[in-house]
């Protein structure tokens, strides 16, 4: 096959996370068979799973979090007791050593937590296992994206993870489970079936916590009558509006309320473990609203857990869902206003195959539109940082640089501003302040890396003969290697996909 430079850019940048530096030869490989380069990852078994030593399941994380919360509480009590004792024994006296740590908790002296220096006056706080977990999960994800061949599967993961987003800022459980949620509910299904992903997501403790369903109680359920708690329709609404049917697709407020009633009792086991193992999904029949419910014109008998599951399965198959998903998928990969014929084909495949996401993904890769549409979309901040790391062949060892950069650029990891996730259009990412910050970050990266590389070679690695003359000249004529690398990272060829 002839070398297809433009095809290589589409394969690497539109579908993947960009060419890797070092000896990978990605651009050449992609240029000789662009479609094959993209598809190669899809046929690997379990391509999307992330099994990394040290990462563990949601229930195990729940246990660790509950323990940590207990230790924090103990430490606070100890600190208070110490204060009180000191005040009693030595009113107004100087701090004395070795005094007032009657119940200091065990402190694991973890590496990397150097700020945790115990001080004589204050009993030490335990290592923050929540933040530690968040960083470890982030690091595993960053590393996987950096070393992947094309990165297409990881791009699919980020797409679906943003579609079914939670926010780590909701509270400790959300931060603790942000990574395990993605590993358990998203990754197993990105090349599987949409209804399965949907069910896994909506029954995952992280989502139940994020959208408040663990608090929602059927008003006429046993728990509702006893505790005077009631319905919270947050999850039900966002499932319909953001996860499946899309807003304006014809459902009503009554449908939302009705669906909210059907999924009452969908919760997770809390710290006390009364209903099972803490941190696992559980259907709490005591909180489930009794009686049949009508949704989108159909009546669902009360079969307990099955009632909401049946409704969810029907919503997943609804034509509005196929349209919503197909449009969003094409918008992410191809263009802000995706070609209608392409959207129609994706929608049709999604419908015919019962939401087979691998089939839909292959339809996208096999389409002509995806290869012919001009490369006009901006890389998201995450794509930009990952692509930079890949080009510079730096496997992340500490997630801090990336997490900080993502915060700066307005895309903090697993922390979107709302349940609709981060925006996916150029207007959001090509804004003035954002561009200035991208440049500052490019300069920052360059100042650390540039002395060891040849920017002209790197431009070949990144975009091969698809580089414009202007970009070549800007890189070649730069005053310093540092400046050349910053210009390369900011070039239209590197920023757009």
């Amino acid at each position: 096959m002839a070398r297809d430079s433009q095809g290589a850019l589409v394969a690497l940048n539109r579908f993947g996370f960009g060419a890797r530096g070092g000896a990978a030869g990605d651009f050449g490989n992609a240029a000789s068979d662009p479609r094959g380069f993209v598809k190669a990852e899809l046929s690997r078994p379990n391509a999307a799973l992330l099994d990394v030593p040290g990462l563990t399941s949601t229930p195990a994380l729940a246990r660790a979090m509950f323990e940590y919360q207990g230790e924090v509480k103990q430490a606070r009590i100890a600190a208070k007791a110490a204060e009180a004792a000191k005040a009693e024994v030595q009113p107004g006296a100087d701090r004395s050593e070795g005094h007032g740590q009657p119940m200091a908790p065990k402190v694991a002296n973890a590496s990397g937590m150097s700020a945790m220096k115990p001080d004589a006056a204050k009993p030490a706080m335990p290592v923050n296992v929540v933040q530690k977990t968040y960083r470890a999960e982030a690091l595993a994800r960053l590393q996987r994206a950096t070393i992947a061949d094309c990165g297409f599967v990881e791009r699919l993961v980020t797409f679906w993870s943003n579609h079914f987003c939670i926010s780590a800022n909701k509270g400790q459980p959300a931060r603790m489970w942000a990574g395990s949620f993605e590993r358990e509910a998203i990754r197993p299904h990105v090349l599987g079936h949409f209804p399965d992903m949907l069910k896994a997501v909506e029954q995952h403790p992280a989502m139940l916590f994020f959208l408040d369903n663990q608090q929602s109680v059927g008003p006429d359920s046993r728990a509702g009558r006893n505790r005077k708690r009631g319905l919270n329709e947050n999850l039900a609404r966002e499932i319909m509006e953001l996860h499946t049917l899309g807003v304006g697709s014809g459902y009503t407020q009554d449908d939302v309320t009705s669906f909210a009633r059907m999924i009452t009792g969908w919760t997770y086991v809390g710290r006390a473990g009364r209903l099972g193992e803490p941190g696992t999904f559980i259907f709490n029949a005591n909180a489930h609203e009794p009686g049949p419910q009508r949704l989108l014109g159909k009546t669902y008998d009360n079969t307990g857990l099955g009632q909401g599951e049946a409704a969810l399965a029907d919503i997943a198959r609804h034509p509005a869902t196929a349209k919503f998903i197909a449009t969003k998928f094409a918008r992410h990969f191809v263009a802000d206003d995706p070609p209608p014929a392409l959207v129609a084909r994706l929608q049709s495949v999604f419908t015919k195959t019962g939401g087979d996401l691998k089939a839909m993904t292959l339809t996208l890769v096999d389409s002509n539109e995806a290869w012919q549409a001009p490369l006009t979309k901006m890389r998201s901040p995450y794509e930009y940082l990952i692509a930079s790391g890949r080009l510079l062949a730096r496997i992340p060892e500490d997630p801090g640089l990336y997490l900080g950069g993502l915060n700066m650029l307005g895309e903090p990891l697993w922390t979107p501003p709302g349940p609709n996730g981060f925006p996916d259009t150029n207007a959001a990412w090509a804004a003035p302040e954002g561009m200035k910050l991208r440049l500052d970050i490019a300069a920052r990266i360059s100042s650390r890396i540039a002395p060891s590389i040849d920017p002209r070679e790197l431009l070949e690695v990144a975009v091969g003969d698809a580089a414009s003359n202007e970009t070549r000249q800007a890189v070649a004529r730069a005053e310093t290697r540092e400046q050349a690398l910053a210009l390369l990272l900011m070039s239209p060829e590197f920023q757009r996909r």
Binding site: N128, V130, Q131, Y134, N169, K170, G171, Q172, R175, D212, S216, V217, L231, N232, E233, N234, R237, E241, V247, G248, Q253, G400, L401, L403, G404, G405, N407, M408, L409, P412, T415, G418, N426, A427, A430, A431, P432, E433, G434, M435, K436, L437, L439, D440, A442, A443, R444, S447, S468, E470, A474, A478, E479, Q483, A486, L487, M490, S491, P492, R496
Partner: protein
């Protein structure tokens, strides 16, 4: 990476309640002075639009304590005239949330007003569509190319370019997005790219990518004009973020050559669960908003006299609290006006009542005032925009919604 770590710690796990309350705060402004700003002897009006994203519970902020049905509907989180945290009486019927003493003082000084039972023309309950309508100024969602404030700027006589401006956060709120150039600023916590690198990149974009050229050129200008000192967030929570953004905005807008018209967006008002009454989650957020009012007044100094601050949200929340001591998405809510140019000291409301039959769809405070009428009234009387422009360009197809008279002194 000490610098990166400092940014990262903004979202570091601490106390979980605080995390839930972490909110965004953004600000952007028109890049030009209106021509009349520097006219000799003329008034030099300022307008600040504050968007509260997430849907503010109007009934919990300005409570109709005189309505016989209010207490039962809002249940455990209802405000009361008495008790340990009494609401602040505004008149014989309405009382203000106790965490807003600054707004209460402004109200007493006749520099603040409340419009109640107000809503945009949007009647469904999606945040994102509701925000589209609130900020775009169109009657329905999905029109996100430009915001009403930006189109209003397009209709103003354009004077010289502002030389200072600020925006917190990397994107301008929709209300100010559009063809009229805006400026914004994000705090410089990274070492910056050298000017020469930026110039070379601009030249490359000039040849290869006009859109990126325009964006970067603007971004560089903003960075230059925003002063560094005193403008970095002290980090932490939504309250600090709101104060910080308001302080920065006021400082720049007070300057002679600073912007006159700006917009801020504060996130985090979606109180589905454990909303709290006189104390709690909403109270915390409202204290941040109150702090923002204080920063506006202090920062604008003598300019406060000619200022109108408008605060609005995409829709209200259910009149009845839900099963988790919060409120779900609703319809009617409040808008707040503050500033020396506001004819204040009143709650403007065509009160619909809270009996079930009077509620919108038997669940929400029924809207009796169109928010566009309020905004039109301010834009007409504060900035001198004609009714025709307001009805056609700023709020398309809104001829039937007349500007509310008498909001501005």
């Amino acid at each position: 990476m000490e610098i990166m770590d400092c940014c990262e710690s903004r979202t570091t796990a601490g106390i979980s309640r605080r995390q839930m309350l972490l909110g965004g705060a953004t600000f952007a402004a028109w890049a030009y002075l209106p021509k009349f700003a520097r006219a000799a002897g003329g008034r030099d009006p300022r307008v600040i639009m504050v968007i509260l994203r997430g849907a503010l519970d109007g009934l919990a902020t300005v409570a109709p304590v005189g309505d016989p049905d209010y207490a039962a509907l809002h249940g455990a989180i209802a405000l009361t005239r008495g008790g340990p945290h009494p609401a602040i009486e505004l008149d014989s019927f309405f009382a203000l949330h106790p965490s807003m003493p600054v707004f209460a003082r402004m109200y007493r000084d006749k520099q603040a007003a409340v419009v109640h039972a107000v809503a945009t023309p949007y009647r469904d309950r999606s945040h994102f569509d509701g925000q589209d309508v609130l900020e775009s100024g169109f009657a329905g969602p999905g029109r996100v190319q430009s915001g009403w404030l930006n189109r209003a700027l397009g209709a103003l006589p354009k004077g010289e370019r502002v030389t200072s401006a600020l925006a917190v956060g990397p994107t301008a709120p929709l209300v100010l997005r559009g063809p009229a150039p805006t400026v914004g600023w994000a705090p410089a916590v990274l070492p910056q790219a050298a000017d020469d690198t930026a110039m070379r990149l601009l030249e490359l974009y000039d040849h290869r990518d006009r859109a990126l050229h325009e964006a970067l050129a603007q971004g560089l200008k903003l960075e230059k004009s925003a002063s560094g000192e005193g403008m970095k967030p002290k980090g932490g929570n939504a309250v600090a973020a709101m104060r910080f953004a308001a302080k920065g905005a006021a400082k720049l807008m007070a300057a002679d050559d600073g912007p006159r018209i700006g917009a801020l967006a504060f996130d985090g008002w979606d109180t589905h669960a454990n909303e709290g009454g006189p104390v709690g989650r909403l109270a915390f957020l409202l204290s941040g908003l109150d702090g923002a009012f204080e920063e506006f007044q202090n920062g604008l100094g003598p300019r406060w006299r000619d200022t109108v601050v408008i605060v609005a949200t995409e829709f209200g929340r259910t009149a009845h609290i839900n099963g988790t001591s919060g409120t779900d998405h609703g319809t009617g809510t409040i808008a707040l006006l503050a500033g020396g140019a506001v004819k204040g000291g009143r709650v403007i409301a065509d009160w619909p009542g809270l009996k079930t039959a009077n509620l919108y769809q038997a669940r929400d405070l029924a809207p009796t005032t169109d928010l566009r009428a309020v905004i039109k009234g301010v834009l007409r009387d504060q900035l001198g925009l004609s009714e025709q422009v307001l009805a056609k360009t700023v709020f398309p197809d809104s001829g039937a919604v007349k500007p509310m008279a008498g909001l501005v002194v």
